[in-house]
């Protein structure tokens, strides 16, 4: 059975982890305890003959040696290519994501506004005295009838009508007679 002092302090003494007083106390103990002294000496000899980097270590291949040296030798270059690149990438992708988001949202918002404007600008009115089918006239509000845009507007209103026929007819809107 091993000495309890060795079990508690022996390895720490061997690795120089005891404070000065503890180390001195253990050294004194080894003077009297043959078991501890023997254990300590055996371990030191094992360390110097068996547990050396030459015996326990391994040699990596030349290829990996060259690769590691190539990449790690210049840390300044490395900070840019390995350290900061991911940060740049992250920032770039975050900013791109938000910009794209704004563009998409902006596009739809503008489209909706334009569509509302178009819808508002085309006010179709039913003329009170024109009762027979085909004699209903349509005017675009705010536009001069003589304006060259008249026909476009009217065409638009026709298109609008054809798409929303049911709803518009309920509201008293009828097709435009272009003739």
């Amino acid at each position: 059975m091993g000495c309890s002092k060795w079990e508690d302090l022996g390895l720490l003494y061997s690795s120089n982890e005891l404070d000065e007083q503890e180390a001195k106390s253990f050294k004194d103990h080894m003077g009297n305890c043959e078991e501890c002294r023997c254990e300590y000496e055996t371990y030191r000899k094992e360390q110097s003959s068996f547990f050396t980097p030459e015996i326990l270590g391994e040699m990596p291949s030349e290829k990996i040696d060259a690769e590691i040296k190539r990449v790690c030798s210049n840390p300044k270059k490395q900070y840019t290519s390995i350290g900061l690149l991911p940060v740049f990438k992250k920032t770039f992708f975050s900013v791109s994501f938000f910009v794209l988001g704004f563009i998409v949202v902006g596009y739809f918002t503008l489209n909706i506004e334009n569509a509302d404007k178009n819808r508002q600008s085309i006010v179709l009115e039913k003329t009170p005295d024109s009762s027979s089918p085909g004699s209903v006239e349509t005017m675009a509000e705010g536009l001069n009838v003589a304006d060259s845009l008249k026909f476009d507007t009217l065409n638009d209103s026709n298109l609008y009508y054809s798409k929303n026929r049911g709803n518009l007819q309920i509201k008293g809107v009828y097709p435009v007679d272009l003739k």
Binding site: E7, L12, T42, I55
Partner: protein, 197 residues
């Protein structure tokens, strides 16, 4: 005394390493080459013995040095560079086992795995020289004992730091080391190496 001499040698080595480390960070290629050539065999030896596969160990070696470079600002100059490097190598090994989902096998069944995976060149040499015999004995250790043993003997990591790295009480780390030494001696005796000359 022997122990004091070792202590001063360690101190000298720590100072040398820190100078090389500063050179490395300042962009002088001699800094990295100095540190890498000095410690690559130890770190690689640790990784090979822990993973049991040279190719994986080479990847982990690369990752270890890259991580050291990336986390250079976290290096505590009161510690030894080698201990710090072994701490990183240990983390890489744990990550590898975690990702490979073989952590359980690593802890419980690693002896068989390592026995089957270890490289042919070493196996061929194992019966011919001391190096092979020692490494065979190390491979028979329980993975946790082997880890403490390699961190201490290859990395020179103090037991207090081993306990931190392995997230266990210092007495557990010391107990594992004692068992590792006992088992290595037993295995060497089995192989005809009876004690140190």
């Amino acid at each position: 005394m022997d122990s004091e001499k070792t202590y001063y040698m360690q101190q000298q080595q720590t100072n040398d390493d820190q100078q090389l480390f500063d050179l490395w960070l300042s962009g002088d290629t001699r800094g990295f080459s100095g540190l890498y050539d000095k410690y690559k065999n130890r770190v690689f030896g640790f990784l090979v013995r822990m993973t049991g596969d040279r190719e994986i160990a080479e990847d982990l070696l690369q990752e270890t040095f890259f991580a050291a470079l990336r986390n250079a600002d976290q290096f505590d100059r009161s510690r030894s560079f080698l201990s710090w490097l072994f701490g990183i190598a240990h983390k890489r090994t744990i990550d590898y086992f975690r990702h490979a989902k073989v952590e359980t096998e690593h802890k419980q069944d690693a002896e068989a795995a390592i026995g089957s995976k270890i490289d042919a060149p070493d196996q061929q040499l194992s019966n011919q020289n001391l190096r092979g015999l020692i490494n065979e004995a190390v491979e028979t250790l329980d993975p946790l004992q082997r880890e403490v043993f390699l961190l201490r003997e290859l990395g020179g990591v103090p037991f207090k730091e081993i306990a931190k790295i392995m997230n266990c009480p210092i007495n557990t780390a010391l107990g594992r080391m004692r068992l590792a030494l006992k088992n290595i001696r037993k295995e060497l005796k089995k192989r005809g190496v009876d004690g140190v000359q």
